[in-house]
Symmetry: D4
Subunit: 247 residues, 8 copies
Amino acid sequence: MDVKKLLEQVRDGVVQVEDAQEALKNLPYEDLGYAKLDHHRKLRSGFGETVFCQGKPDAFLLEIYKRLSERDGEVLGTRASEEQHRLVKEAVPQVAYDPISRILKVEKEGKERKGLVAVCTGGTADIPVAEEAAQTAEYFGCRVDRIFDVGVAGIHRLLSQRERIVRANCIVAVAGMEGALGTVLAGLADCPVVAVPTSVGYGASFHGLSALLTMLNSCANGISVVNIDNGYGAGYLATQINRLAVK
Amino acid sequence: MDVKKLLEQVRDGVVQVEDAQEALKNLPYEDLGYAKLDHHRKLRSGFGETVFCQGKPDAFLLEIYKRLSERDGEVLGTRASEEQHRLVKEAVPQVAYDPISRILKVEKEGKERKGLVAVCTGGTADIPVAEEAAQTAEYFGCRVDRIFDVGVAGIHRLLSQRERIVRANCIVAVAGMEGALGTVLAGLADCPVVAVPTSVGYGASFHGLSALLTMLNSCANGISVVNIDNGYGAGYLATQINRLAVK
Amino acid sequence: MDVKKLLEQVRDGVVQVEDAQEALKNLPYEDLGYAKLDHHRKLRSGFGETVFCQGKPDAFLLEIYKRLSERDGEVLGTRASEEQHRLVKEAVPQVAYDPISRILKVEKEGKERKGLVAVCTGGTADIPVAEEAAQTAEYFGCRVDRIFDVGVAGIHRLLSQRERIVRANCIVAVAGMEGALGTVLAGLADCPVVAVPTSVGYGASFHGLSALLTMLNSCANGISVVNIDNGYGAGYLATQINRLAVK
Amino acid sequence: MDVKKLLEQVRDGVVQVEDAQEALKNLPYEDLGYAKLDHHRKLRSGFGETVFCQGKPDAFLLEIYKRLSERDGEVLGTRASEEQHRLVKEAVPQVAYDPISRILKVEKEGKERKGLVAVCTGGTADIPVAEEAAQTAEYFGCRVDRIFDVGVAGIHRLLSQRERIVRANCIVAVAGMEGALGTVLAGLADCPVVAVPTSVGYGASFHGLSALLTMLNSCANGISVVNIDNGYGAGYLATQINRLAVK
Amino acid sequence: MDVKKLLEQVRDGVVQVEDAQEALKNLPYEDLGYAKLDHHRKLRSGFGETVFCQGKPDAFLLEIYKRLSERDGEVLGTRASEEQHRLVKEAVPQVAYDPISRILKVEKEGKERKGLVAVCTGGTADIPVAEEAAQTAEYFGCRVDRIFDVGVAGIHRLLSQRERIVRANCIVAVAGMEGALGTVLAGLADCPVVAVPTSVGYGASFHGLSALLTMLNSCANGISVVNIDNGYGAGYLATQINRLAVK
Amino acid sequence: MDVKKLLEQVRDGVVQVEDAQEALKNLPYEDLGYAKLDHHRKLRSGFGETVFCQGKPDAFLLEIYKRLSERDGEVLGTRASEEQHRLVKEAVPQVAYDPISRILKVEKEGKERKGLVAVCTGGTADIPVAEEAAQTAEYFGCRVDRIFDVGVAGIHRLLSQRERIVRANCIVAVAGMEGALGTVLAGLADCPVVAVPTSVGYGASFHGLSALLTMLNSCANGISVVNIDNGYGAGYLATQINRLAVK
Amino acid sequence: MDVKKLLEQVRDGVVQVEDAQEALKNLPYEDLGYAKLDHHRKLRSGFGETVFCQGKPDAFLLEIYKRLSERDGEVLGTRASEEQHRLVKEAVPQVAYDPISRILKVEKEGKERKGLVAVCTGGTADIPVAEEAAQTAEYFGCRVDRIFDVGVAGIHRLLSQRERIVRANCIVAVAGMEGALGTVLAGLADCPVVAVPTSVGYGASFHGLSALLTMLNSCANGISVVNIDNGYGAGYLATQINRLAVK
Amino acid sequence: MDVKKLLEQVRDGVVQVEDAQEALKNLPYEDLGYAKLDHHRKLRSGFGETVFCQGKPDAFLLEIYKRLSERDGEVLGTRASEEQHRLVKEAVPQVAYDPISRILKVEKEGKERKGLVAVCTGGTADIPVAEEAAQTAEYFGCRVDRIFDVGVAGIHRLLSQRERIVRANCIVAVAGMEGALGTVLAGLADCPVVAVPTSVGYGASFHGLSALLTMLNSCANGISVVNIDNGYGAGYLATQINRLAVK
């Protein structure tokens, strides 16, 4: 159904008001321009569509990368494998892959980066998740400061970076095992802390459950938590917060 | 905003088609008659509003019972206490309370009951949850056959009721502890079985978790599960299924 | 023991009433025709035997497919691998395999499909489980409408399908991660919703536990839950409900 | 140790450079003005000290309220009981208590409120936690829009509030049971969503665990989670985000 | 339906063989004497009916005690409260109550006790559960040797009782907290060990879960486990085993 | 230290009583003949040593099989792989392997089997665990009756075997998924039931946890539980019980 | 049996060597002086018996306090209630009770305290558990330094106490909620850290589980964990470690 | 910033006291010599840096081993694979690998070992974790006594080693499955027991959770717990305790 046409018919007396009213009641939501509005929102807000690559069938993945890189000139994919990289590269040669973060993307050159997001990790094993967060935030236009391997078991390492930490508009705290990094960061800084538990650890870490519970139970103010290993989600949220600050 | 008025203005040339189109885009959903439609759906389907009494502040509870009993002549409330009964009775004298099911209701007389729902329990301690299911189904217009205390530890008790069981359009299986009743019932009957785990038990029943897992892992076909102690939900669902059969 | 023969002997005075009474007391259950009755029930109800292929030894699987396809002309197998497909195909060439749903079946042509079951998914990763449900329902004689990728994170996608959704006699809601699809569907429609949590997700999805708990705790009426990834169970149950409606 | 005095002694040649260097190595941290700096940070950022009242001994609680209300003219206490209210009121008559949110506070009059935080709930039982969040955000200087009882089981209630929702700088989504509210909100709006699971529910809600897992596994972007029932933490975090937007 | 009468009618030619065959197909199970057989089994095996008193409504409890004590001259009730004792005593004055085991029973005098069951506990706090086991076994005719407070933290206490332990036909091992008693006992003795985890403990004992897991993971041979705090179940099972030995 | 020698020295006056008393105080336990006694106990009771093969290094496994088969003429090994079979066979050619139960054993011919243990399973997938139990019981001298695939979803299959079931001295009930088999068996029979949960299943079976909880919460009397998949433990325990009956 | 007497009989030729050897084989362990040795060990090591008061019947508690205070002049009881205090005080007037730690003790005056144990807490709500640890260590002869309310959310509070912390031979770290205190302490100090999770917190702290997992997953070296709220156990262990240092 | 230089400038009147005071306030922590102090602490205490090899990228691992073996002449790496051994060996030929403990180390010859740590295991499958503990303690300078395969299912094996056990300054108790070893050891000895749960087991051992809970709930005094399979952590802690004793 075409709303504009219906309204013209009402104007021209071809359709009665009551009939038009009835038609509008059952109007599919997208006919209200809702979906387009949604599409506009994405473009306006600068958050283009992203792809969770893991487990995607090859043909489907290829199609998405081709279509999005043609339409938008950009694609951000997460949790991609080296095999998926090779697959996509044949059809979309400008695609770039980072084996640490497992991000597979096509990105426009010369994007301006604004504000500041600090991405911190407890240990070196948390870096893949942290890079997923950092590169997501960079893709969406944030300046990012990486402060890695500052876990609380050696508190002086963290404290020595205090000046860099307090400059950020948003801090992403990535940590596995005991996961206490977020609490100490939230105690040092004034800005929101997005905590990402990682599945790094063994035994009673229960694949990230330990770090997750630690972060949810933080005694500090100004801290919230995303899913285990969800670097992308933290990077996205940090971008939203950073944008509010630089608007 | 009034859609009818807008359309009249379009018809009369007071409002341009483009402006009307824009206005409709941001139309609050209820102005589309959506909420009314929803209200109509409830009346048409025969499922009036119900009240989860537990924890409701007194003033709020009283207001709901007064308003609904006036508007609809009926109210179904679940998990009500004896105190709530006394409170409501002063303002709505026709309210009736059943201390077993903890249902507090105003019900029209002479309602016809159709079809057949069988409500079975494993033990006598499961009866309060079963009664919540049975009385909910009756309130919404089902005939109900109560078959209590037929747990699988004494399988002959259950088998001796086979004829009553297979006559139903839907079976509600209420059981705590090991919760195997639903599986045996689904093996005996052709109709859907709605399983309700109860928190009856102690130790490793973990407040109904044991029965819940048993029911979810049933080897039988045609069985699904609702929340622990959720007699109301099972009664509602059984009513929906029974109605499909008697339509 | 042959009941008929025994009764004839009683009639003919060959066996005393008391002796016959004693014999009947210990009558094996199947001698009562129970098992046959059971067999008849299956044929009458249209639910032939199905095979859970995963983990079945090759020889056993082959034997089942050969015997059932000869006896009934039909077999429905779930969770079959590509290897099992090749194995069975050599002996039963008419067998068909769908790698998405992992269903391996022999099906009579020209079966009539009645009523309507809607099978919905939250995302594309839930499709394998949804197809197991949909194809099971189709095998047992339902018309199925597939409404995929309508998760609640983009609620307009779901709402735009409202008209298709409300036409069904039963809705199967398949979703992983946060699993809220079933609740929204049950709020939109009048018919029973069978919710299937999937193991899609990572981290705190705990292999489907998150979606399972969400679905069990649904605030909506008319929803029940089957085991994680149990598309077959949902399809079977939806068929039972759909049949009650089309009888 | 007094740093200023030490430096004066170095200047005056009373203390050798090497000895001063040694002394500074073991300098207690607060002598660096760190604690004061911390105190300044609190005053500067506008987040005064708050009190978790639950379980505090009477004498201790009284002392805190007296001291803070004298020093700062303001105190924010959470999870206070009616008894604690009466106790404090005798010594600090200007204290105000809200039995819904259980907030016990002394607040300066005429505080300006800026920006906009939307606090939404799934049901009416979630309101106490939501009020804790809303009043915390108001105490710290936010304008708050309360949008209660818009759970996803009746999605039209939520959609009809879309315009109010998208105006906020930060959304607090408070929900128990299946907890899907946050996902739908994050799908509708561009701003960060802070999700608060509540312990509202029964059975397999496991005291809020179900809602917590739902929220952590959200398919939507831009959502993070705080501890179960932690309205205060959500209000604090929303304030931080709102301030970044209004700076 | 009366089977004897039916057979007589067949004999007398009043009923056709085919009609009788049909009638027998739907014969309720109890008409086969099944239930009576079951009743006989209870009497023959010496295990009369028992009552789980906890949560039983007063009227129901009273009725059961009156009926059973009249019919059988004996009743065994578990988990009874002091209030229930007083209630029953008025109607059944010969009832006896033990506040430790919370057993409320009517027992015939002069019952012979045979064989030997050893009931051991880890600590004194486990004694209520152990007494429930011991008195259950005694009620059903076992000789019982109580060996209490022999937990593995002081292994010499246990070893000094080795002679008493190895004489039993069955050992009941009752322990909370770390629950290792059963393993050591099974290592010392040749007979079956029934392990009863208790909810004694705090913190990470998780209401008996810790002891339960310990017992299920025992490295020793000849040990099995019943539910947390299920002294009755252990006593019943020990009686069955002891009887096999003394037959 | 040699106790006999010490006593001879006391007798001969070479060692003083006080010195001997002191020496005995610190006597290593095995010098008391304890370990030998233990060894004797094993031989006397007929339970020779058994080997848990899984994960054993090759050299160690080989050594054990060689030594035990030479010393005792018998070895029972569980959870052996096909590779381990080939390895051992080269050195111990009389070893026999069963790929279903994964038992690798050397067994004397012509062993007499006494009494009766019934081993039942819910489904065919439970057979490997059941065979481990059955063959363990047979190895230790029991007669075993295998009653497989009698799960409660088709209760008539189980009931038709009632006569075989009630003949046993001990029943082993092996079941995964909902695990209700043990309860129904314990309700039918008088003898002890040893329930073995299996890890058969998927989704909310949580690798056997569901069946384990079901069995622990059984409403029936005379049932106890061993670890998930612990067929060996059940077979051992059933043997102990069966021996008490046949002594 | 009297070992000395037996040996004398051997010496005197009254008992044969072989008969004595046999008698010694079955010698109850305590006759070897084992229990006495054990008793001696307690006295020698300075760890007298202690009493877990919670749940002890009054008569039993009274008896223990009377007997131990008479025999040893000292008793240490934990988890005592105010009622238990009043009860014991009547019979043992010198008993002292501390309502914070819930320790009820009789202690000799003028005990020397050696070495140094630091007892630290994250918050003020952890103090009851910390006091149980501190007073236990003091009772057993340690000097104790209490460093309370130094949680990691305000890391400067902890760092300002570094000098006091590093002086200890053993640190007890008591913390609930996110429980990260132990990790930071172990990173600052060289000595063993005994971490005590507390049940302080709400929501996803799950009664101390969160802090427990945090502590078990600590990235720091030199840290171990005791049960939730087990202040006594930590104090005891700290005493053992402190003694090794001061010996 | 150089503190010494600043102080010289204060001394020389080049910098004002107030300016120096300000500069010191923001002094990065390491400029206080903190990190160096930390470095000194490591060297002084004898605990050099260690490497958790598992999951380390090859280049990074190689670099660490080269740098540390050059600087310190020693490296201790845990959880190394055979592949990592081969990789490092090419660059650092003096490296040694133990496939049981998976320790990959460069160690100076002729190191003196002092005191005594006893490392005990319940079974032979626990030895890899025990060797990690033992070799860690030896690397850091402890004498170690290995007492393996003394699980509590055969208590005499453990008791026969009592003399060796009580000689140690610290006992490491390594056990999986039911994990009761630590409790019995702590009951026998006076020194601290560090309990290490292992993931050895199956079914309800839940990858070490069972042993972990057992150890945390130990009824014995003087026992604490480290993470599942954390042999390194136990060896480190045992070394700290042993050093306090030999100082």
